[in-house]
Symmetry: C2
Subunit: 328 residues, 2 copies
């Protein structure tokens, strides 16, 4: 199996449609971790799962609900895309630790402990003060470890992220962000976090969302791929992958909702600004699922060999899925 090559995206949040599912097939994408909740409570998250069940009934020849690494292999063999659920925020579990197992049973495989703000569990990357992992956060990480729901710290603050890496008995991920040595956005990650992920079997998924790129939408493919090569030098080539953060076909009202939810009555521009409040323009080399081959080509051009390129494009994520999507 070592010469098999899988293509996996570690994070997308699109305005899902048959067109996008067809683009996944055109792009040869075997699996996608899709966001099914930003600010939703439990019942609202269930409604989103119902919507996905509708997609699975409607487009069985394009997509199905993925739960294990073997579902990625099944997707590859049957020319479909396996859809894995994740939350950008712990809001779906409300204040109820036993919802962790319920949500895992319903298919959740990733949960961020915070989305920009302080949560019951940890601190988000836009807060001034960082509590680290809270009392409840420690209990929830243990429960996530038990059932096989992966801790994702993409939108979390530095100390909270380092403590999650340390405290969690199983590897954690930053599913969609870049190193801040390359682009110093609040959402990007320190060398200490990269090192921690690499040493514990975690994963970093590289984001192509313009606010995380050096030069934003003007970032070149070469610069992006060279950054990946530099990361591989720091943390090895086995703990990195793609987490495109593709936010396709949404109106700008959606990015406002992602930032504002129900937590404020004011406008919060997040990574944007008053003059650039909407979704930013994507780099020309990555507009949708059909463009993964550009990234693959870019990785080869900065010097990765075929095997390491395959690891970054999906094989590392598959190894991670195999180990971390259920009880030990």
């Amino acid at each position: 199996m070592s010469n098999m090559s899988y293509r996996i995206d570690g994070l997308q949040y699109a305005n899902w449609s048959e067109e996008i599912f067809k683009q996944m097939r055109e792009g040869g994408v075997d699996a996608v971790h899709v966001t099914i909740a930003y600010h939703e409570n439990f019942r609202e998250t269930v409604a989103n799962i119902e919507q996905w069940n509708g997609f699975f009934e409607q487009f069985p020849e394009l997509i199905f609900h993925g739960k294990t690494g073997d579902d990625v292999r099944l997707a590859h063999e049957t020319n479909r895309t396996a859809i894995f659920y994740g939350f950008q925020n712990p809001s779906p579990m409300e204040d109820d630790i036993r919802l962790v197992e319920i949500l895992h049973t319903l298919g959740a495989r990733f949960m961020q402990l915070t989305y920009n703000n302080q949560s019951l569990l940890a601190t988000g990357c836009y807060e001034e003060n960082d509590t680290g992992i809270t009392r409840m956060g420690k209990q929830v990480i243990e429960e996530m470890n038990r059932v096989g729901l992966v801790v994702d710290m993409s939108h979390s603050a530095e100390q909270s992220t380092l403590e999650a890496i340390e405290f969690s008995a199983r590897p954690i991920v930053v599913s969609h962000a870049n190193p801040n040595f390359w682009a110093p956005a609040l959402r990007n990650k320190s060398n200490a976090i990269l090192k921690g992920l690499g040493e514990t079997g975690g994963m970093l998924g590289f984001s192509m969302y313009p606010h995380h790129l050096k030069g934003k939408g003007d970032c070149s493919l070469q610069s992006f791929c060279q950054m990946i090569a530099n990361c591989a030098d720091k943390m090895g080539v086995d703990n990195i992958g793609i987490g495109s953060d593709l936010c396709q076909d949404h109106p700008d009202s959606v990015v406002e909702w992602m930032r504002v939810g129900r937590w404020t009555k004011k406008i919060d521009y997040g990574e944007g600004s008053a003059s650039n409040a909407g979704f930013p323009d994507m780099p020309p080399w990555f507009n949708d699922n059909r463009d993964f081959s550009n990234v693959e080509q870019g990785l080869l051009e900065v010097g990765f060999d075929t095997q390491d390129t395959a690891k970054i494009m999906g094989n590392n994520w598959l190894s991670f899925f195999d180990e971390n999507f259920g009880p030990k």
Copy 2:
């Protein structure tokens, strides 16, 4: 495998405890369909599933969550009891047909379309007028058929039950009731229903709840087992089993809640009466899970051979589980 003998109870609703789980083991009960909702809405039902997850974590050597027929075999091999979830009322799905699949994913395997009263789906056995299966009821039966959630008409009215047998593309059950030719309670079933269940591969589970017995708690084991023999003559020996309706260790406030829920501000005595409002006394030959061997012995004494006795004590339920607990 034809000489294997499984013991399965088609319905219990107890005040669950370690003591009861140990009694299940002492009684050699491989699987129990347990009621996890009477009047609960979706979120309340999830809370009940959380409680069961707690039991499974606490008593892994006694019980585990059963989802398929093979889980009954696993329970038998590992000296444990597989717990299968069911609802006495469609309240957990609220007015949302897509909750059928969600609830099945969470482990539900039986759902009654009504509990005594009219529901959105059909008519209960205590109503004066019987609508039969409603417009929504037909849609929900199709969805239940699709995912493999079994229609249970134990508390439904005559016409509704006959229509469910007719309309459902897969066999349905009356998990806990007796024939009304033997004991003419409103909850017991007509010969037409018995015939319909037998002809379509359905199941009737015989109840030992006193209000369903001839002579109530004074009913003899011989009378109960002779009734089963008479039923077997009418509908064959392959479509009958036990559905004890054991309601163990509850205070009488629970039977009041079962009858009254939130649908009335008055008292409804259901099968009881003002002078006998609480849980009735069980017959002396069936007080808890340790007494299934009495029933087995009684069946042998009214003339069933070993193989047919094994069918009634659990093998028929197992065949039914194998066929009906998932998509076709």
